[in-house]
């Protein structure tokens, strides 16, 4: 993933009011623990692990009571700050939707520059595997009640945990080699 795309992605998320934390896969549980409120439910991740306090096989009642839902995303779209969440059998969709805060884990390797890339990724999956994906960009929002409010039906807050490529910049965690980001921040 290019430095420019990572920088664009983070800048877009920042403008959407979405917080981002970054680190290597080995620190995933720690980063999630910092971002998640309590009580929290989640779905087992493809990459990285969840902290123990996240209930990964929740009952519907536990989902209802949860403050935070933790899921991973299949893809990120740099230009728009969107994350692709798959509606799978494990409950990724309800866990990401029926909560106040959605903590979403994305591997940097899964970041693509723009929408055409995202739909080229989706096309074969939709045709061959009937995949259901929502591209979520920031929190749920409405302006129907006389002002912009977050959390109309879905989450009020979104937090992205971005997992660095192992060894990409030597340490896998420093922003210092990322001049564009440094300039922005």
């Amino acid at each position: 993933m290019s430095v420019a795309d990572r920088s664009t992605f983070k800048r877009r998320l920042d403008s959407l009011g979405v917080t981002v934390t970054e680190g290597p896969e080995s620190e995933c549980a720690e980063l999630i623990d910092e971002a998640a409120g309590d009580p929290a439910v989640g779905v087992a991740l493809d990459a990285g692990s969840l902290p123990d306090r996240i209930e990964t096989d929740p009952t519907t009642a536990e989902l209802r009571a949860a403050h935070t839902g933790v899921t991973d995303a299949e893809l990120g779209v740099a230009e728009y700050g969107s994350v692709a969440i798959e509606a799978d059998g494990a409950g990724t969709e309800p866990v990401s939707l029926f909560v106040d805060r959605h903590v979403v884990v994305l591997r940097e390797a899964d970041l693509v520059p723009d929408m055409p890339d995202a739909f080229e990724w989706l096309g074969p999956r939709a045709r061959d595997e009937s995949t259901d994906v929502v591209f979520a960009t920031g929190p749920s929002a409405t302006a129907d009640m006389g002002g912009l409010v977050h959390g109309a039906h879905g989450p009020k807050e979104v937090h992205v945990v971005l997992l660095r490529e192992p060894g990409e910049d030597g340490s896998g965690e420093s922003d210092a080699t990322d001049p564009e980001v440094s300039a922005d921040e």
Binding site: L63, M145, P155
Partner: protein
Amino acid sequence: MSSDATKGDRIRELMATEGDAVAENTRGFNQGRYESTGRLDDYEELKAEARGIKEDAIARLPELIEEVRRTVEANGGTVYVADDAADANRYITELTAEERDADRLVKSKSMTSEEIEVNEALEAEGVEVVETDLGEWVLQVADEAPSHIVAPAIHKSREGIAELFAERFDPDDPPETAEELTMFARERLGELIEDADVGMTGANFVAADSGTMLLVTSEGNARKTVTATDTHVAVAGVEKLVPTVEDFSPFVELIGRSGTGQDVTSYISTLTPPVGSPVPDFEHDDGPLADGSGDDRDFHLVLIDNGRMEMREDEQLKETLYCIRCSACSNACGNFQSVGGHAFGGETYSGGIATGWEAGIEGLDVAAEFNDLCTGCSRCVPACPVGIDIPWINTVVRDRINRGEADPGQTDWMFEELVPDEEPGGLDLSTRIVGNYETLAKWGSRTAPIANRLSDAGPVRALAERVAGIDRRRDLPEFAGEPLVDWFEARGGSRVSADEAEREAVLYADTATNYVDVDRGKAAVRALEALDVHVRVPDLPGSGRPPLSQGMIATAESAAEDVYAGLATHVDAGRDVVVIEPSDLAMFRSEYEKFLPEASHERLAAASYDVMEYVFGLLENGADPSDLRAPAEGTGPVAAGKRVAYHPHCQARTIGVGEHATAVMEALGYDVRVSDTECCGMAGSFGYKHDYYELSMDVGEPIREQFGDTDRTVVAAGTSCTEQIDALLGDTPMHPVELVAPRE
């Protein structure tokens, strides 16, 4: 005229009750569109790509319907193609009431379901229907219809919603702020969704290759509706089909930007149902969320024809099927900004494109209701992400109404001489009078003193208002005794000889310039001659704009042929055609495409220039700006001052010649402030009409706000703008060419 009086009253009432909320929201969305699309490097390419996909999809529609039937069924869903609303409702009510034994259906906002009125059909069968979009739910609680395609409750104020909730639900702690109202609705709707049996959504697009549907929302209600219920019914017009999933891409980038100015909406759901999520059991919620219960999900795609396949065969209405329901045409429309959707369209759709939808789906009589709220200003054309010429569709429908609903009882013979048009007898009188403006102007000019005195006389104005609906508050144009063409001939033609000239130009003496505002014509001659242009001012027919605005297409077409015949020799001789009236230049460049052979249209369009565009071009090519009039120093008379307030004409902006005047004035040293409203609200005949007078003035309000207290010299190019600004500010603005032309 009694039904017209009701129309006027209704518009006045809507302006009073809903106008402020509508204005604030639509103007905000419209501004957001400019900002958001302005951030795209490839906006025009994206639009072209989106249009190309729609053209292809509509052309191949029967094939795509068969393909999506195969792909959805392969996934275990069903596809039902409903002929009309009754057919669709029968299928859906049978499905919900019998097969699924449903008590409650939760629904994510969908215009197509509004079109078939499925809520009423379901409720008649004892199924409770709950709208889950917050705005739509407010309307359901208030028992009102949507007033906007995208933001249905745009006309409701926060205070109004608070009052409604307090009254309807009598809560202990009545919500008041936007945040409190939203959370109140979220909670109530959340409970209703949890206990629902069936979820219904629309679909913004459906990909035939996989059966994938695209849903664009911001609230998350569509997601909850689909996830929380084990039966999903998607209702979509057949025109929503596109060939492949990859085809979604340009629309995703355009739809939010075009509608509300969001780069993308919060959620873009791409569902290939039945979806893979488990169905949460909220009734017995101590069981695991993901227990494989998603396996019994059921999906039905109801594709609705309801007139669409016929529209596809209709060369003029076909373009309506390219519409992606983004609402850009509503938000860009001056009239919509003042009155909102409750004054537009007929049964379901609103805004500019509504006429096409209503004509195709409901019929001409429904489309006729408010078709004339389209003034043809054309600002929706560049706003439309799929490039639909919406004013043209309105003109076509107007023409069909003229032909189809003619009242043979009218005493048409009285006016045959006055109105020598190409239209069938029995056309509405006010339509014919406005449509034959050129003949009126010729007659008025010949008898100028009498005509002007007569047209000012109280009894005549009262009669004109009663018989022809021309509002007596509006000043009528004062005809000049000596038309421009006669003046030019009397002065002995051009002062710059053809041999010494840099260029040769034909100044098009449009009807208004020739018979009413002769001064701007004289100024144009002086300005061009000052820049070494040999000018000709031949006697040419009117462009056909007035009849076109009245839907008199045959008359307009005949005018186009006459104009081309009159100009062809000049174009052959390599002369440029310089046009003062922007609405006429817009005819030459845009509408004539429909009337002239392709080569003729292209030649005329390429040879024609707006007068300020032409001056700009001359200066760019080395003409000396000091030959034009620079601003006067010091405080001097206002008209000669340095500070200028300029209102660009709506149609000039659409064809891309609105800003040349600004550039020329600035090059000469003027300090120019440009108005930032879409349209002045006058639009030719529109502002003269009694029923629309107040609306026209309301649309012009932003100009009054911006320029009302200005000490700047006000300039505007269009005849209509000039009349409107005169009415708004009490002073007639000059044409930009009058500002920069050397004095006589």
